[in-house]
Symmetry: C2
């Protein structure tokens, strides 16, 4: 069923060869199953449907890549910081795999040249980019296994695009930034924070909502009111920035 | 620094040999670095502290194991259900790795015989068990790599303890169950559900809070009000059950 669709991307076509070289240049990998990488570039808006249950887009690969990215980043941080506790590792991991980081990295890699989406428009800084990057990780994992995925993430993402020292030391005050944004854009910003009886038995957990124009724009969890609000503000900032750019 | 602590568990001691056989029997693996598995059994409440930055408990291993478990279950579901979409895979995965499932599996494996915690008491059905199981996955991953972790999770957890068909078809009405629980225990249960402007651009997302005695006991996200409330009720049920048993 896939043959007609994929004909255009076959290796013997000019476009196919160009795509192969592109994937090779950004991943350092010689693709075995090129179709997987091609599929990673198809956003749901441009999907091809074969039947009720069979569609061709990157959502399943993104789901898989997201999980593999989480595991690899967890592993790298575990090894890099042998004396830090679980709280530090979890916080650092979530900063690394943030949507805005993934979108920015995908943009710098040049994925926008190959992503298929509809209707045409500027997708820079949108989640379509970050999702496609995760889908590529899923494709590498299926094509080459965990070790290759790890090398790609470590050498071609973490080392190349991220300043780990800055991420670790980053103490940006997201709450102030969001309030400033609200004042500039004449949108009332409000934080609602409550105690949360979570799964952790000993520690009190807080849940904060950053509410903009009566809609929750960010949700954050934390062991202090401040931490929860920072996390909520961070998510809300990603949302408003993504909205204003799309 | 670890030598005095670990002396008692060394292979040449009777306890050490018994522990080795136990790990071998539940995992099918011949441990290389036994200390890792031993560490996986030390709950934070019984940790040994060597200095400000160096403590010996299972939290870091649990953090790592949680990520590896997520990746392996994502992979297995991806392969098992080639025609299901990302939403189905995500939902099924979160049902599989639920705290109550992990606690129950750890109990059936007999981890409680080896977990160190303080003060002594009945830990059956508490998160201490599930956390230790995740820490064992972390230990296997560091000791033997991704492939061995995958085999352990697939053959000794998913296949052995879980009825995947039941999990997939499970349409338990958690909201009704929680309301019943509230009536039985004379605790007012309330649901507060709001629209959420999440990262997904196209779909409206809902956030529900299950509030018991004015504290949030469960938080749920969903593409419909109903789905969000079901997820919140499910988490709240896990919490109240865990509380009443601990």
């Amino acid at each position: 069923m896939l043959i007609p669709l994929l004909k255009s991307i076959k290796l013997f076509s000019r476009k196919g060869r160009k795509f192969y070289r592109f994937i090779n240049s950004i991943t350092g990998i010689r693709p075995g199953n090129t179709d997987l990488y091609y599929q990673a570039m198809v956003h749901k808006s441009a999907e091809k449907r074969f039947s009720k249950n069979k569609s061709f887009n990157n959502e399943r690969l993104e789901y898989l890549g997201d999980a593999i990215l989480g595991a690899v980043v967890a592993q790298e941080l575990y090894l890099l910081f042998p004396h830090e506790d679980e709280g530090f590792l979890t916080k650092t991991r979530s900063r690394i795999v943030s949507r805005s980081n993934l979108n920015q990295i995908a943009l710098e890699m040049g994925l926008q040249q190959w992503i298929q989406f509809h209707p045409p428009g500027d997708i820079s800084q949108t989640h379509i980019l970050g999702d496609a990057l995760e889908a590529i990780i899923g494709a590498i994992f299926l094509d080459k296994g965990y070790g290759s995925s790890r090398r790609f993430i470590r050498d071609r993402i973490l080392t190349k695009y991220l300043d780990l020292k800055e991420i670790v030391e980053n103490d940006t005050n997201y709450k102030s930034l969001l309030i400033e944004w609200g004042q500039k854009n004449k949108c009332p910003v409000q934080f609602i924070t409550e105690e949360y009886k979570g799964k952790e038995e000993k520690n009190t957990v807080f849940i904060a909502r950053a509410v903009i124009n009566n809609k929750i724009s960010g949700l954050g969890k934390g062991y202090s009111k401040k931490e929860a609000e920072q996390n909520a503000a961070n998510e809300a900032l990603e949302n408003v920035q993504s909205d204003s750019l799309s």
